[in-house]
Symmetry: C2
DNA sequence: TAGCAATTTCGATATTTTCCGATTAATCTA
DNA sequence: TAGATTAATCGGAAAATATCGAAATTGCTA
């Protein structure tokens, strides 16, 4: 009885969201800084920041500040909430996630100062308009 | 790559809800009919019905009609989405869930016709007013 | 067929969530 | 210190969700 029903629901809510789940799954491929995440996913920076805030609140990711950059990564296994492992296993096999991770590899090859000054258009693509 | 990110998110959303998660966890203790669930959880019947609709859509529960009663239960393991197992494991240890299951045992002892005609008040308790 | 009884669907409101541009805060660098 | 840059927060409009009584539906029973 480690926690409370409501707490578990909050944790689930945190990942019941396309962008947030995508960010979490992306980070499993390794630490990234916020601007890298925004670049990989082609999403406005403020959206990434908000997604990360929720994931942090839920205990799924941790941050590390280095100068003006903020690096985020999946919480170390020993501190991870029970859900996390199964979640990442499930998400890791999704095509979208694998594409994101591939893109992350390319982005990692660019030095941060160069990457981030590169004005990211981040075409605000609709997050709902899937072919249901 | 069995599914789609959006599908996974939908599945997670289905259980990111106090009542729905409670219902799902309750059913792990065995099949119940809708009116029994309403009685155990002290929640209006239409709310239970709606919760079950979502859980069914997400593939977590199945129904079996018998006369005018509808019995619901957790989907058999072979058909269960990957998430389910870990989810139930996590929820099963929650105090609230254990209480619900204990109540279910009492309710099962009452014959259905007797139980259901018993006008259930189901005090519309606020679902948000936790001491945050 | 009439009348219950169990469940689902509907309707309407209230609340929450989402989203992103603009602003602010923090930190580097010249 | 001024200027630039990265990230967080704010604002607020639009969309989605929650909730539960009332009405509709389905199927039993007499």
């Amino acid at each position: 009885m480690a926690e409370d029903l409501r707490a578990l629901v909050e944790r689930l809510k945190a990942v019941s969201h396309p962008l947030r789940l995508r960010v979490l799954a992306l980070l499993e491929s390794g630490e990234l800084c916020v601007c890298q995440v925004a670049e990989v996913l082609q999403v406005p920076q403020s959206s990434v920041s908000e997604a990360l805030r929720e994931l942090r609140r839920a205990g799924f990711v941790v941050e590390r500040k280095e100068g003006r950059w903020v690096f985020v990564s999946v919480v170390p296994e020993k501190d991870a909430p029970p859900l996390l492992k199964g979640l990442l296993a499930g998400a890791g096999s999704l095509a979208e996630v694998q594409q994101d991770r591939a893109r992350a590899q390319e982005v990692r090859a660019i030095s941060l100062p160069v990457l981030c000054s590169k004005v990211q258009k981040a075409v605000p693509v609709e997050h709902e308009a899937g072919r249901a």
